[in-house]
């Protein structure tokens, strides 16, 4: 029984008892308005067999000022009898049940009526799922009510923010024998001039080098072009909570995710084959593939990943690398833990070409550090230790980018990728 009805019955009972004890029958006249109120309310209470409600939910992602929001529209349609009071209470997310996250609307619905409720939900990267919406039916005075859970399923993935990295000058050691954007250092069907050779049966007459033919009568020469092929790129994202840092609600891991998404998008747009492996409490894999669908698979995976502890298998060197061919260029996003050098040793042993983009955790937490001498000395020592670790990894033929996350990634990546082709070349690139 709701508090309204309880209050009214208590007052009626009080008046009744007062009339009884004081032997003043006219006191009961005061209860008359209450009785009329309750009677009208209860008569209009909807019967169960006349209730037939349908709900529909539509989601739209909008990005005003670069901040993603979901516009949720819940529509309730009454296909049964008239309902004097329908309260729609929508929980913003399936796993959030507190009152703060609920929005509502109260309406009266005749047969065939529908009512819509719209609200904007500020969101971050992630997957948002709704299963149902709560509808509370009551009389016009809300004396009694019953709750119905009406199915209104919907799901939306909010992809991580991405930088527009345009075309990166990628020069991997190996390419796939599939058309792509990367000059493969051999003759083929590209656009850049590669060389001239003697004409062979079957060569297109369009590619005859007429100047050379004129200089050497009786011989024909064909122009050759540099073959352009796709690269096989593997993205490895470190999602271990041990390497993550949180400062003022911002996570260092989110920067890694953003970088991985930006590079993944750029590589796929260039026509390369891209795969993803995320290492946290569990391992998420997106097997190698091309095109828009592959990009969606990668972004969907990056949407749901959270920094989490992998438990006993703490080191990166436990990662299964079977999904990457050893002709892949592996790009690792990790702030690095102490023992992670072993992983890069393993990559070297497996003849992988690799690059490390390491978001700098010390620079990230620096604004929150106390300004006393001990903290500053500790900070400097930690930085020196990190610098030594990065240099030791760079000596394993790994291109290293020490990324201070508040600086743009593009110039660093452009610089690093542009030089990857030279075998044995190794150096660390520092953000600042």
């Amino acid at each position: 029984m709701k508090s309204k009805l309880r209050t009214l019955i208590m007052i009626i009972l009080g008046l009744f008892l007062a009339a009884l004890f004081l032997q003043r029958g006219e006191l009961l006249w005061l209860a008359f308005p209450f009785l009329a109120y309750i009677t009208v309310g209860l008569i209009k209470y909807p019967a169960q067999d006349t209730i037939n409600l349908r709900a529909n939910r539509q989601l739209h992602q909008i990005n005003p000022h670069g901040r993603p929001k979901i516009e949720v529209e819940v529509t309730i349609r009454n296909q049964g009898g008239g309902l004097p009071c329908v309260e729609v209470i929508d929980s913003q997310m399936e796993d959030v049940k507190d009152d703060e996250s609920k929005v509502g609307l109260t309406a009266s619905l005749s047969k065939g009526d529908e009512v819509s409720m719209k609200y904007l939900l500020p969101v971050k990267r992630g997957q948002y799922t709704w299963k149902s919406t709560l509808v509370r039916l009551s009389d016009p005075f809300r004396l009694l009510s019953s709750d119905l859970d009406i199915p209104a399923p919907a799901e939306l993935s909010i992809h991580p923010e991405r930088e527009n990295l345009l075309r990166l000058p990628l020069r991997p050691h190996h390419t796939l024998h599939a058309p792509g954007p990367i000059p493969a250092s051999r003759a083929g069907s590209g656009t850049d001039f590669w060389g001239v050779r003697l004409y062979q049966t079957g060569d297109s007459l369009r590619w005859l080098d007429w100047r050379l033919n004129a200089r050497y009568p009786g011989q024909f020469f064909t122009r050759e072009f540099e073959q352009e092929e796709a690269a096989d790129i593997g993205l490895i994202l470190d999602a271990r909570s041990e390497t993550d840092q949180l400062v003022g609600g911002e996570s260092l891991f989110d920067y890694s995710v953003r970088a991985a998404a930006s590079l993944g998008e750029s590589f796929i747009h260039q026509g390369n084959r891209v795969s993803l492996l995320v290492f946290g409490q569990r391992i998420w894999r997106v097997f190698p593939g091309y095109g828009k669908h592959q990009l969606h698979r990668i972004l969907d995976t990056l949407s749901v990943t959270r920094a989490s502890s992998p438990g006993r298998l703490l080191g990166l060197h436990y990662l299964p690398l079977e999904m990457f061919s050893n002709r892949s260029l592996l790009i690792v996003f990790s702030p690095l833990a102490r023992a992670d050098r072993l992983f890069f040793l393993r990559l070297l042993a497996g003849d992988y070409q690799s690059m490390l983009i390491s978001p700098d955790p010390y620079d990230f937490i620096f604004p929150t550090l106390p300004k006393d001498g001990d903290s500053q000395r500790g900070y400097l020592l930690a930085r020196i230790e990190r610098r030594i670790q990065l240099q030791s990894i760079a000596r394993l033929k790994v291109r290293v980018i020490d990324w201070q996350v508040r600086q743009p990634l593009l110039p660093l990546v452009r610089n690093a990728l542009g030089h990857v082709r030279g075998r044995g070349e190794s150096r660390a690139i520092y953000g600042a």
């Binding site: 009626i12 009744f16 009339a19 006249w29 209450f34 509502g104 109260t106």
Partner: protein, 176 residues
């Protein structure tokens, strides 16, 4: 955190006006009646409850509205016992009930549609009218019921309400 796009509607202002009118009726008419019958000290707690009801409207404290309604009932019952006009007290009681209902609608967190507002006010008017008509009919028809009959009718009424609520609950599943 989030913004409901559906607007509360222009009826909100009308509801506020009706709330103030009903509260004025619930407060001023019996106060004058108390003053005229020489029982003006009872007007003071009544005006205090009016003030509290206004405060509960501003501060969205539903419990305060319940307390005010109970307070109105006690003061009007005292008025009836002290032989102040019964009709005035019943009208004031109905107006107090209406103001209590309206204050809770105004305090409701979720926005409401115009149609619901209209329905609610209609039914409130019907309940208000039924209550006054019933009392008025008995009063003008000069039906004087002995206390025993009145008592029996009261018991029957309470049992009927209980039966009615049980019936509604059975008919509609399990209301909360």
């Amino acid at each position: 955190m989030c913004v409901a796009v559906v607007k509360a509607g222009q009826f909100m202002a009308r509801r506020q006006v009706l709330f103030l009118i009903s509260l004025a009726v619930a407060g001023l008419i019996p106060s004058v009646s108390f003053a005229l019958s020489g029982q003006w000290p009872f007007a003071i707690p009544l005006l205090v409850f009016i003030g509290l009801m206004l405060y509960s409207n501003r501060s969205s404290k539903p419990l305060l509205a319940h307390i005010c309604l109970a307070g109105f009932s006690i003061i009007f019952a005292i008025g009836v016992v002290l032989n102040t006009s019964l009709v005035v007290m019943v009208i004031a009681m109905a107006a107090g009930l209406a103001s209590w209902d309206l204050v809770q609608e105004i305090q409701s967190k979720s926005p409401t549609t115009l149609k619901y507002e209209r329905y609610h006010l209609q039914y409130l008017g019907i309940a208000f009218g039924m209550g006054l008509l019933g009392v008025g009919a008995f009063h003008w028809l000069q039906i004087r019921l002995p206390f025993g009959v009145m008592l029996a009718l009261g018991i029957i009424m309470l049992v009927s309400i209980n039966q009615f609520i049980t019936y509604i609950q059975k008919r509609t599943g399990s209301p909360s």
